[in-house]
């Protein structure tokens, strides 16, 4: 993996990194991917369907709860809004998108 590839991945992950870090990560990723790549050879035989690997056929299912009011309305509003870097009234403030 080269520096450009790492910089592009960092861009996809929305993380600012410098060229020096990208260079160092490219070498580290080569070593890590060589190691984790062992799973590719072994798990090809016997070939298992990806859906089956995810347990989609083994009875695993989503557990849902009723979409009803979980708590009294408003009791967490201040606690949560106080954590936001910028707020305006009862809204979280963000910069203009368009």
């Amino acid at each position: 993996m080269d520096r450009e590839k790492v910089l592009n991945l960092a861009k996809l992950a929305r993380i600012e990194i410098g060229n020096e870090e990208a260079d160092s990560l490219s070498h580290e990723f080569d070593a890590i991917l060589k190691y984790v790549g062992e799973v590719k050879e072994v798990s090809d035989s016997p070939r298992k369907d990806l859906g089956e690997s995810l347990g989609l056929s083994s009875g695993i299912r989503n557990v849902m709860r009723e979409d009803t009011a979980p708590h009294e309305s408003g009791i967490y509003t201040e606690k949560i809004l106080n954590q936001a870097p910028a707020r305006e009234g009862d809204y979280i403030k963000v910069k203009k998108i368009l």
Partner: protein, 430 residues
Amino acid sequence: MTPEEIRAKDKDIHAFLEVFDDAKSYGEGFLSGKTIAIKDNILFAGHKASAASKILENFIAPYDATVIKKLKDAGAIIVGRTNMDEFAMGSSTENSAYGVTKNPHDTERVAGGSSGGSAAAVASGMCDMALGSDTGGSIRQPAALCGVVGLKPTYGRVSRFGLIALASSLDQIGPFAKTVGDAEILYEIIKGQDILDSTTISENTYPRKKKFSKVIGIPRTFVESEGVDKDVKKNFRESVEKFKSLGYEVRDIELPHIKYALAAYYIIMPAEASSNLARFDGIKYGLHKDGKDVIEDYFKTRGEGFGREVRRRIILGTYVLSSGYYDEYYGSALKMKKLITEELRKAFEEVDLILTPTTPSPAWKIGEKSKNPLEMYLEDIFTVHANINGCPAISLPSGFISALPLGIELTAGLGREDNLFIAGKEFLGE
């Protein structure tokens, strides 16, 4: 101990990120009077929870994690929040944004990780018990390196509601204690199905079909593999003899795929982490670094707020999930998970427990392994199978080598924590 006494004692260890001045009991129960430390990724309403990251430096938990509610109801006194590798990514607490935790047995050495602060706090007597989280060995490995008991329960046994997520298919909260008996008490308090965590299991999810018959299996080729310290192997053989003298039947078993659990783990974990940590955007909560527009805010906040190991794993996770590599890496890792799960299921038809060392070496010198990420990752070799499969595992103190503690690990079938407690108590003479 008073908060001042804990702080004084912690000066040389740095197990705590914060010792609470307002620690008190919230009720009466099985934990009345017991002091408990919590890992800094567990939400305790009104208190900071930073996951040892700069990106959450001033984050105040708006609500209690389910485990905190249970601790309060049981009368526990929560004394402080403990140091950890940032977002639980690491095996030494060297990745904490707030400094390394030192091993109470030798302060030039690491306490292990990622729940190193919890392990060191219990080992040095600063609290009676502690909570940690274990994604690939983050309770059991520091427990072994600090000479205490550490349990990772069955996946889904303990609610993760209010736990800052690393890899949601692997994460599990569990106890640290000086004895197996205490670890069992804390486990009994925190376990249970929770409507707020849909992955929690009921008592009937894994029915206890097989009667405990004191049969231990050893994956011999795995345990004897290269890279395992010779003193660890010697201590392991002594532990095997001890189990035999306690009336256990010990037999060698073959688990041909278990050595690949670590490779599968270092694909699945970063993949899930890259997705879970996408929520830290500098807008909703936590650190905000200003750029010229919204997108630049993201880049700056995440670039500066996350430490190096966290950046490394998010970017690696982005790679293994990216178009063109998804099947090759993530798909293959899930297939491996399936093979290992099947292999362990079959093994537990024959044996009650699987025994390995907890770690391939005792605690190492601070800084010794931090240059090479892959070398650090190999620390998890004996612990990750339990997270990949979801089965419970416990680390027990098994002696010392040159004054450094070592641990052995017992793994049981899904839902069979009971077997770990029986064998653990017998091994430690409780």
